[in-house]
């Protein structure tokens, strides 16, 4: 009996016994649906991390010259102490790197700390104050929704002007026009010249609770000691040029710090890769946990299918005997029942994929987790679902194939 005959027969049987088949494909259905759903979350967060998170926090083709890495999960105390002993990044370092780079880049200074910003009797607490140079807006892709960013001239002269994040604007001004108004930062009045478009949040972190002032404005004393920077930001035109710029910056900084060839850098040149590596670590944990759930439901699904198939073999003993008497070989009977269990599992997997995609859309819509379906998970879902059907069908099908036709025909 050719394969397609076996498959057609299997589908006929499934159609004829809808309820029973429905129950038997439930396990595989749940397994595949959870596979797709969970994978979609990992996949979605992954894409979010690489596309949005990294770009928002670092910018594309951008690196930062810092004393220590910005994103530092799970670092032992000894490393922390070593980092704390490092010299800080100075204005002069930034100027030297800026002057020494031969690759076309744009650069910005950046120092940040949390402050309270007030306007008349209103206060916005825990606001990230960033003292930066004028290209900061370009590097960070901050869209000015209202007004303008500050200019190079304003930056150099240390003008008391400020660009507000959306949350700060909402908190202090609500629906009123903020431009030209004077807010107080560390007791110093700053004139509002612009508002950055709302950015939302990343995994629950609000992105709009910030203000940006010129690096040399009075508030620089609130973020760092004089002449000190948190980070020097460098954005190149391409990844290749960024690598080149990193190499050049490293050489310049090592020269300025008088480091011998054997000595390690006492500064970091950090790209968005660091964050991504951290995320890769988290997603690896998820990728280890995820199969647990999936495997459990698929194993249960397999056991259910196996039981249903054993019942089917018992119920249809006479049919098997008849088919054998009409010339069915062992392999024909084997194939028939294997096709049936595989078809049940594959149909279950197909429903599971539909449900998994639905689940993904739902998660994406109603939870803060971004989720997007990975095509790979669909392929894997089908393969695993079908595989479960084959594995679960082998034992019942073998029993069917081994039945003695005489005994089988005699059975009532």
């Amino acid at each position: 009996m050719p394969f397609y005959e076996a498959m057609r027969l299997a589908l006929q049987t499934i159609r004829a016994q809808k309820l029973k088949s429905g129950f038997s494909l439930l396990g595989v259905f749940i397994g595949v649906a959870s596979l797709i759903g969970a994978w979609s979350i990992v996949n979605g967060v992954n894409r979010y991390m690489t596309e949005k998170f990294a770009q928002t926090l670092y910018g594309v083709n951008t690196f930062q010259l810092r004393r220590r890495p910005m994103f530092t999960p799970n670092v032992p105390d000894s490393v922390w102490r070593a980092w704390a002993r490092r010299p800080r990044i100075r204005f002069s370092d930034a100027e030297a790197v800026s002057a020494g780079l031969t690759v076309p880049v744009i650069t910005a200074w950046q120092s940040s700390d949390n402050v309270t910003v007030s306007y008349s009797n209103k206060e916005a607490r825990d606001i990230e104050l960033t003292a930066a140079s004028e290209r900061y807006f370009d590097i960070k892709n901050l869209n000015i929704e209202l007004g303008r960013p500050f200019t190079g001239e304003e930056n150099r002269s240390g003008a008391p002007v400020v660009v507000l994040g959306d949350a700060v604007k909402q908190r202090l001004f609500a629906d009123r026009a903020p431009l030209g108004k004077s807010v107080r930062i560390g007791g110093v009045p700053y004139r509002v010249i612009g508002v950055v478009a709302k950015q939302g949040s990343i995994l629950g972190f609000p992105l709009d609770r910030f203000v940006v002032v010129p690096a040399l404005s009075p508030a620089q004393n609130l973020v760092n000691p004089p002449g000190i920077l948190d980070a020097f930001l460098v954005k190149a035109r391409s990844e290749l040029e960024m690598r080149e710029a990193i190499a050049q910056a490293e050489g310049i900084m090592r020269g300025r710090r008088h480091l011998r060839p054997r000595q390690d850098n006492n500064f970091v040149l950090e790209t968005s890769e660091g964050v991504q590596q951290f995320w890769a670590g988290i997603s690896r944990i998820l990728v280890v946990l995820l199969p647990g759930v999936v495997v459990i439901s698929l194993v249960i699904g397999g056991i259910v299918i196996m039981n249903i198939m054993l019942m089917a073999v018992a119920e249809r003993t006479r049919e098997i005997g008849l088919r054998k008497s009409l010339g069915a070989r062992r392999r024909d009977v084997l194939r028939q029942f294997l096709a049936e269990s595989t078809a049940i599992a594959t149909v279950g997997a197909a429903f599971g994929i539909v449900a998994g995609i639905g689940l993904t859309v739902l998660i994406d819509k109603i939870s803060p987790l971004p989720a997007s379906v990975s095509p790979m998970s669909i392929v894997l879902g089908i393969i695993m679902g079908g595989g479960v059907g084959v594995v679960a069908g082998v034992y019942p099908a073998t029993r069917a194939a081994r039945l003695d036709p005489i005994a089988a025909l005699r059975q009532e």
Binding site: S325, L326, G327, R329, R330
Partner: protein, 243 residues
């Protein structure tokens, strides 16, 4: 019985001999005791014979029927079917022989309840590896031959007992087997319908079909041209009779 040659081990049957058993035995090991169902049965059935096998229960007629139908293999002895020794063939080859050489008709019809008449008749052809179109044509032809040309799309539960048995006979004939092997073909039918089935058997026999029928009913066996009676695992009588 001048037409029957004396057969010795090592011989090959004459080409017009469809079934030849030689000292056929079948023993069942039931653990504590050995059941000797057949104790050396030697029969020859020629092409286009119409034979009834009779005997009381326990005589070995079912065992002989299973052996002739290649559903079982003998403990010792030879069984030649249509010029081929099948007594020591492997499982898959026996399946092929059942498919090509033997058309079974059972007491309980054994039709697939979910399939219509046409599909039921098609079954042996699926295992013969015929194409779907070819199968349908031949199955339809076989159904016409048993007078059910207008019932092809009926399921078994939409047919009368006699019609069901006709479907089963069409299924037995569809692959043009060497023998039609019937096991109590009228056992589940009323006497009128049973006579109709016997008339069909007669018709098939007249058109050249070899028929072997196992029955315990004297008046059914009377339709055959030859009656072999088994008793205690051996042939007791073997008589030809006027039809």
């Amino acid at each position: 019985m001048s037409t029957v040659q004396l057969f010795r081990t090592g011989d090959t049957p004459r080409p017009d001999v469809i079934i030849l058993t030689h000292k056929l035995t079948r023993e069942y090991d039931m653990g504590s005791e050995l059941v000797r169902a057949l104790r050396g049965v030697s029969v020859q059935i020629q092409k286009n014979e119409y034979v009834a096998v009779m005997g009381p229960s326990g005589s070995g007629k079912s065992t002989l029927m299973n052996l002739i139908g290649c559903l079982d293999t003998p403990t010792s002895g030879e069984y030649w079917l249509n010029g081929q020794q099948v007594s020591d063939l492997a499982d898959d080859e026996l399946a092929r022989i059942r498919n090509k050489e033997i058309g079974f008709v059972f007491q309980t019809f054994n039709l697939l309840p979910r399939a219509d008449a046409l599909h039921n008749v098609e079954l042996p052809l699926i295992y013969a590896g015929l194409s779907a179109r070819n199968r349908r044509e031949r199955a339809a032809h076989a159904l016409q031959r048993v007078g059910l040309g207008d019932r092809m799309d009926h399921r078994p539960n939409e047919l009368s007992g006699g019609q069901r048995q006709r479907v089963a006979i069409a299924r037995a004939l569809v692959n043009e087997p060497s023998i039609l092997l019937a096991d109590e073909p009228t056992g589940n039918l009323d006497s009128t319908t049973g006579l109709e089935i016997m008339a069909l058997f007669r018709e098939l026999h007249d058109s050249g079909q070899t028929v072997v029928m196992v029955t315990h009913e004297q008046d059914i066996a009377a339709h055959a041209a030859r009656v072999i009676t088994l008793r205690d695992g051996v042939v007791a009588t073997d008589q030809r009779q006027a039809a």
